[in-house]
């Protein structure tokens, strides 16, 4: 019997999907269903136990087609998040896969590859072999310990395309061992050690981008001008934190990391197949030892926030791999695309900002996971995690399989041999649930609890030594830098190849986009430590800001919106306002749609003097709040542009009442502050003697 652990061991028991997923689902429903009563009821409904799955288990022997329709229908009516489609592989499928594998091994044996640097670690060995080959094991014990102890040396440089590049190298490795990264990868794909079979599809796929970006047209290399330096880091297996993602450069980035990931997958796979053939050969010496794999097969993990992004990633993989046949493709597009019946794209509010439209176009389910398995001519979606090469998942979707400590049904062994993690749009993970991301990283590269049929004589030594985390490459793309991301980069990226952090050299600051004539007063809240910052901010708000809202003229205290980015702070402020009888309405990510519209009306009509507003609410809804005279930023938003958007909502009113904007920040909010006021001012505002600044 084939193993179907990850297939059947799914997450019916999980009873608390994140609030954000609920929110997203309710958003989705709101576009689907018009009945008001249904909408109001939706968020209170407890998540259904995963009925489709239970049924799937029972109907396990049925032909796949039937199963699928069954799931699709059940998914449609109730719980779109659940039917992320991990259903059992049937036995037929398995035997077919085995036959495929045999054919692949035969092909690998027959193939005479010129780029065969089998003598691992030899002088001419590729970077890939030097980084992932078994011979790396010996130096890893020493270098890995240094990486674990965070003994990094940093060097900052400015690249014309990437802007500021902060390069971390291990002190222990010495400069000789680390070749200085050339800012461009080799001009040809061949010189960059890209597998032959990726060349043609890459040129074809990437050509579309050259047309879109004129700067790429005259480029002598097969990359766009952004891809070239980025790929040079990726191909040297550095950990990369790229904090300059925009929705314009996302396609370029996706192509680049998909190429890199596929190259890694193919390189590993070809090596494994070739070695298998070698071991099987009649003249193989009995003590031949070829260590070329990890405990499990999955090598690349790609995290994406929503199904729409997941679909684009899988499409890129399909295009680049140029496989002749794709299994489960129809089902995939059914589940990841939008239903043509409720595709309300034209109804998308055209007034919403462009980035919002880009993020929320298509299917915005945030709970999915798909295993992608490659063989020589074939790509298979929805493969069992233990037989897939690439796992594409959302943090929530993966987290639900991992389970939490103490739960009975848990499965994370398939993450033990992940050699490359890509986080696409990591900034959106912050708006979803960052805990899931950290949880996933906690479970990467552990030694599995169960062998899962792994051949121990082929497992690389550094896996046996539990040092796999020291070769794993982590690649994160984000729209901005955040403390959470930096912490993850610091605590979980222990790659001995070193790491790079790429960020904008100077940010103009979104304050330049403020069109309204309004004095904006920035107060620096004095705090001694980051741990005390939350308390200090609250006390400062209560002592210094609230009284000014309350005690001045009756007119002035009205129509104030308090922007509280974090939900924790939101609860704290709300409770305080409740206790002290402020007439405040709430607008947060948990507010039901009906309450939201009532709150907005009350606020607009002046029936409520205060509104509390969270950043996530703004992220998911991007409402225009009307009737706002004053705004208080309890803290600055993560997304710098939200500042300008919110301030621009201020309305003076017919009688020309004064408007105001007050901002609280601490010296620990440096990154957020920089995005609002710009790089030039941030140092003075964080460290200067004055603690209040006014912009008009």
């Amino acid at each position: 019997m084939p193993k179907r652990l990850s297939q059947t061991r799914t997450t019916g028991e999980w009873d608390a999907p994140s609030a954000y997923s609920k929110l997203v689902k309710s958003l989705k429903r709101s576009r689907k269903v018009t009945s008001v009563s249904r909408l109001a009821a939706a968020p209170q409904r407890l998540p259904e136990p995963a009925n489709p799955r239970k049924r799937a288990k029972k109907t396990h022997g049925l032909p796949a087609e039937e199963l699928r329709s069954d799931e699709a229908s059940s998914g449609n009516d109730e719980d779109p998040g659940r039917d992320d489609g991990l259903d059992p592989v049937d036995d037929n499928d398995q035997s077919k896969d085995d036959a495929q594998e045999e054919a692949d091994i035969a092909a690998a044996a027959a193939e005479d590859e010129s780029d065969d640097d089998e003598q691992e670690g030899g002088k001419g060995a590729s970077l890939w072999t030097r980084h992932f080959g078994d011979l790396a094991s010996e130096s890893l014990a020493f270098l890995g310990a240094a990486a674990d102890a965070n003994e990094w040396e940093t060097r900052s440089s400015v690249d014309p395309e990437l802007q500021t590049v902060l390069r971390y190298t291990l002190k222990a490795s010495g400069h000789a061992a680390v070749p200085p990264p050339s800012s461009t990868p080799p001009n040809t794909l061949r010189a960059a050690n890209i597998k032959q079979r990726l060349h043609e599809p890459w040129l074809k796929t990437n050509a579309a981008l050259f047309n879109r970006y004129p700067n790429g047209a005259g480029n002598p290399t097969p990359y766009t001008s952004l891809q070239a330096p980025l790929l040079s880091h990726l191909l040297s297996f550095h950990d990369v934190l790229f904090a300059r993602q925009t929705h314009q450069n996302t396609p370029e980035i996706r192509n680049a990391y998909a190429l890199h990931a596929l190259n890694h997958v193919f390189q590993t796979r070809d090596r494994v197949l070739k070695n298998t053939a070698k071991l099987r050969a009649d003249n193989a010496p009995p003590d031949l030892e070829l260590r070329d794999q990890g405990f499990t097969r999955a090598k690349v993990l790609i995290l994406a926030p929503f199904k729409n992004a997941g679909m684009e990633i899988v499409q890129t993989l399909m295009a680049l791999s140029a496989t002749k046949q794709q299994d489960n493709k129809k089902r995939f597009f059914q589940e990841f695309g939008t239903d043509p019946l409720d595709d309300l794209t034209p109804g998308f509010d055209s007034k919403k900002p462009e980035d919002h439209k880009q993020i929320f176009k298509g299917n915005i389910d945030d709970c999915f996971r798909v295993g992608v398995k490659f063989s020589r001519t074939q790509l298979k979606l929805y493969a069992d995690f233990y037989s897939s090469d690439i796992i594409v998942a959302s943090p929530l979707g993966l987290r639900m399989v991992l389970g939490a400590e103490g739960e009975k049904k848990r499965d994370f062994d398939f993450l033990s041999a992940i050699e490359m993690v890509v986080m696409d749009s990591a900034d959106i993970f912050l708006m979803q649930n960052w805990d899931h991301v950290v949880h996933i990283f906690d479970h990467l590269n552990r030694i599995p609890k169960d062998p899962h049929g792994c051949d121990f004589s082929r497992v690389r030594s550094y896996y046996l030594d539990g040092r796999a985390r020291n070769v794993r490459q982590t690649i994160a793309f984000s729209r901005f830098l955040a403390p959470e991301l930096n912490a993850l980069f610091h605590a979980h990226c222990k790659n001995v190849a070193g790491k790079v952090k790429i960020r904008d050299t100077t940010l103009p600051g979104s304050i330049a986009d403020v069109a309204a004539h309004v004095p904006q007063i920035f107060h620096r809240v004095p705090t001694a430590t980051a741990a005390e910052a939350a308390d200090a901010r609250f006390e400062y708000f209560v002592a210094n800001i609230l009284p000014t809202l309350r005690t001045s003229s009756a007119v002035q205290q009205k129509r104030t919106l308090v922007f509280v980015p974090s939900y924790f702070d939101f609860v704290r402020v709300r409770n305080y306002l409740d206790e002290h009888n402020y007439d405040a309405v709430e607008l947060c990510e948990y507010t039901t749609k009906r309450e939201v519209s009532r709150a907005r009306t009350d606020f607009f009509n002046g029936n409520a003097s205060y509104a509390l507003y969270t950043e996530r609410f703004h992220f998911f809804r991007r409402y225009h709040i009307r009737g706002m005279r004053h705004i208080v930023f309890y803290a600055l938003p993560e997304y710098g542009e939200y500042y300008a958007e919110m301030v621009n909502m201020l309305e003076e009113g017919k009688t020309g009442e004064a408007v105001s904007c007050t901002v609280l920040y601490t010296k620990y909010d440096r990154l957020r502050l920089e995005r609002v006021v710009g790089t030039k001012r941030v140092a003075r505002m964080c460290e200067g003697e004055k603690d209040a600044f006014m912009f008009t």
């Binding site: 030694i447 062998p451 049929g453 004589s457 046996l464």
Partner: protein, 469 residues
């Protein structure tokens, strides 16, 4: 037939046996100055590449006798998975591994211990790191050979069976057969034990090539430094006599052997209720607990070990002063091995066997196979009445131990379903929970129930202590 080899005049030193300086250095570090008889006799043979059947008394250095030549050959031609050592019990396997590592420290030998009751996955990883020597119990080794992909013993050069007669018993028969099928025929095989049976003769035909029999003792001999006694008394006073004996031996370390797991638990609880620091070891405990109990006893944290025959073979615990056979062993071989836990490596030691009216026949058989009569334990003297003075307190403590066991059983049934996999292990919790607090707790509980000055009828704990003066 293997040629018989009697020890000639022992050579004076390890050098003259042909050992390399690195190993001699390791021996010196461990305090081995001159080779023991069995070592002197077997090492030269082994270095010549002969198969060996080694027979020597308990505690006479058999482990080093097979470890040293293997290490020397390994040093000459290093190779992963060079030797496999089989042991009948898990504890023994750990002990052999320690010895291998100590002796091989100078040449950098890597060992892996593969025994039941421990995590398969970490063992699989240890095996795939290509250790030179694998020390294992047969069941788990076969499990790995069958289920761990990529592990085989096709390169094996040495197979050692320690306590060979036990390994060749019916219990392990199937596993040994399986193992012999998957290891190469061109290898050396060593069988070592203190007791050899005719079954070995049978098996050596299958697995040994032209073996040499190295015998430095007759079949059922014990070392001269061991004083062996028996005590004869009615069955109903059994606990009472045990308590009396342990009381007499207070301050010395001793091992009490029983026949069943249940009785080890019961005795351990009873003795603890009486204020003795006893710890139990039996096959139904989980492996970490077994190792923990043994470590406690070895390190001197506990002075009394109550064990089944799982601890009877091979375990080398320094400074065991006495062995008490609470139940008469079922075979003379077991007897030899049990009493062999004391008086090791030239030290003195004594053993006392408790004989009741039901055990006379068994006991006489043992005496017969050893070819000598044992003496009655002299310390008991004429004054049997002194023993019976303890009776009341012992009975109380026994009753209390029974209650504790029952309580455990009930608890396990009520809440602990699924908590413990082995159904047989339900009663073990109280018996194994032997930290100071729980001992104290029990004593206090006993005292609280008893009215003060109530003649110690209830307060088994304190009463027991009083009785020891």
């Amino acid at each position: 037939m293997p040629e018989e080899l009697k020890p000639s005049d022992p050579p004076v030193s390890f050098e003259s046996l042909g050992l390399i300086p690195q190993l001699i250095e390791a021996c010196t570090k461990l305090g081995f100055t001159t080779p023991s008889d069995i070592q002197a006799a077997s090492i030269p043979q082994a270095l010549e590449g002969r198969d060996i059947i080694g027979l020597a008394q308990t505690g006479s250095g058999k482990t080093a006798a097979f470890a040293l030549p293997i290490l020397q050959r390994l040093f000459a031609s290093p190779q992963p998975l060079y030797a496999c050592v089989l042991a009948p019990t898990r504890e023994l396997a750990f002990q052999i591994s320690e010895q291998f590592e100590a002796l091989g420290s100078t040449i950098g030998v890597r060992c892996a211990v593969v025994v039941g009751g421990m995590d398969m996955m970490s063992q699989a990883i240890a095996l795939s790191k290509k250790p030179h020597v694998v020390i294992c119990t047969p069941g788990r080794l076969i499990d790995h050979l069958e289920n761990t992909k990529g592990f085989n013993l096709k390169q094996l050069k040495y197979l050692v069976m320690d306590e060979a007669d036990r390994l060749l018993d019916l219990d392990f028969g199937a596993e040994i057969e399986k193992l012999l099928k998957v290891i190469p025929r061109e290898r050396n095989t060593f069988l070592f034990s203190a007791t050899m049976t005719s079954k070995v003769e049978k098996l050596q035909r299958a697995s040994l090539v032209n073996p040499v029999k190295v015998e430095v003792a007759t079949k059922y001999s014990t070392v001269a430094t061991l004083l062996q006694y028996y005590v004869f008394f009615p069955f109903k006073h059994k606990e009472c006599y045990l308590t009396y004996l342990l009381n007499e031996l207070a301050g010395q370390t001793c091992i009490v052997f029983t026949l069943t797991c249940a009785s080890t638990q019961k005795l351990a609880l009873m003795l603890r209720n009486l204020g003795f620091d006893a710890v139990c070891l039996h096959g139904q405990m989980s492996q970490p607990k077994r190792l923990g109990a043994l470590t406690k006893f070895k390190s001197g944290g506990r002075s009394i070990l109550i064990a089944t025959d799982v601890a009877s073979r091979g375990l080398d615990i320094a400074g065991v002063d006495a062995v008490i056979n609470y139940d008469v062993p079922q075979s003379s071989k077991d007897y030899i091995h049990r009493v062999g836990r004391t008086a090791r490596a030239g030290r003195a030691g004594k053993s006392v066997t408790l004989v009741t009216q039901y055990d006379v026949e068994w006991f006489q058989r043992i005496e017969h196979s050893m070819g000598r009569k044992l003496d009655e334990y002299p310390a008991l003297g004429k004054d049997r009445a002194a023993v019976l003075l303890l009776q009341e307190r012992v009975a109380e403590a026994t009753r209390f131990a029974h209650m504790q066991l029952k309580e455990e059983l009930a608890n396990a049934k009520a809440g602990g379903v699924g908590k413990r996999k082995r159904s047989g292990g339900v009663g073990e919790d109280a018996a194994e929970k032997d930290d100071e607090e729980s001992v104290a707790g029990r004593l206090v509980r006993g005292n609280n129930k008893a009215p003060r000055g109530g003649g110690g009828s209830r307060g088994g704990g304190r009463g027991g202590r009083g009785g020891r003066k």
